[in-house]
Amino acid sequence: MPGDLDTPEASDEDLERVMRDVPRGAFALAALAVGALLAAWLLIYFLVFLPRGMVG
């Protein structure tokens, strides 16, 4: 049980400090994921889709 362990409880300051950094990390991860996805789409668009030529 967590209550049985002899560990100091996190103070409110600790919690706020951690929470302050969470959005930055989440934004960095989301930006990386979206950027990688868009870059992959553009690579396939320019290197595969356009060179294959007209269709309609």
């Binding site: 706020e16 929470m19 302050r20 959005p23 934004f27 989301a30 930006a31 979206v34 868009l38 789409w41 553009l42 668009y45 889709f49 356009l50 294959r52 030529g53 007209m54 269709v55 309609g56």
Partner: protein, 180 residues
């Protein structure tokens, strides 16, 4: 200090702007491909009776395969059926505009030609039509890409793209794989 509501709203607006930006980039790319490179989804709407496909009209057996009409237009007609294409091999010239026309008497099929943008569904009751220009010569695989039954994995055809000077229609304007 907890993160303020203003900061949250600002970050959400920023992400909304990024989302709109990503969608805009993709839309502009698709419009550019359509207008400049003439790469469009096949959008032919043409009805045909699947029950009488083989009895009359353009998809009778004698009409299938590649044919060059009097005005020089090159058209290949193919019937997709469980579990084969008729004919299983068509000949087309490279670097010339060609038209592929498909119909099916049974269930939904789909085709793609490997290494090209040719890709369409073949739906009973409709004629699927694709215009394209093949730039690479060689035997290109054209498999059925819509599950159509137990023999689906065996259903494929060959698109033989030949240099324009080797594309020689006979007196009736036909070009076939074995006759070439």
């Amino acid at each position: 200090m907890p993160i303020s509501e203003e900061t949250i709203v600002r970050s959400e607006l920023r992400w909304a702007a990024i989302s709109v930006g990503v969608v805009s980039v993709i839309m502009i790319a698709l419009i550019y491909a359509g207008l400049v490179h003439h790469i469009n989804p096949p959008s032919n709407i043409e009805r045909i009776d699947p029950n009488t496909l083989h009895l009359g009209g353009e998809f009778t057996e004698a009409n299938l395969g590649t044919r060059v009409s009097g005005d020089g237009q090159i058209t290949s007609r193919i019937v997709a059926t469980q579990f084969t294409f008729q004919p299983r091999c068509i000949v087309l010239p490279a670097n010339r505009r060609v038209t592929l026309r498909f119909a099916t008497p049974d269930v939904i099929h789909g085709i793609l030609v490997t290494g090209t943008n040719v890709n369409t569904m073949i739906v009973p009751g409709y004629v699927s039509q694709v215009h394209t220009v093949f730039t690479r010569t060689g035997d290109l695989l054209m498999p059925c890409h819509e599950y159509c039954g137990l023999g689906h994995s065996e259903m494929s055809a060959t698109v033989r793209v030949v240099p324009p000077d080797e594309f020689k229609p006979d007196a009736e304007g036909r070009v076939a794989c074995d006759a070439r």
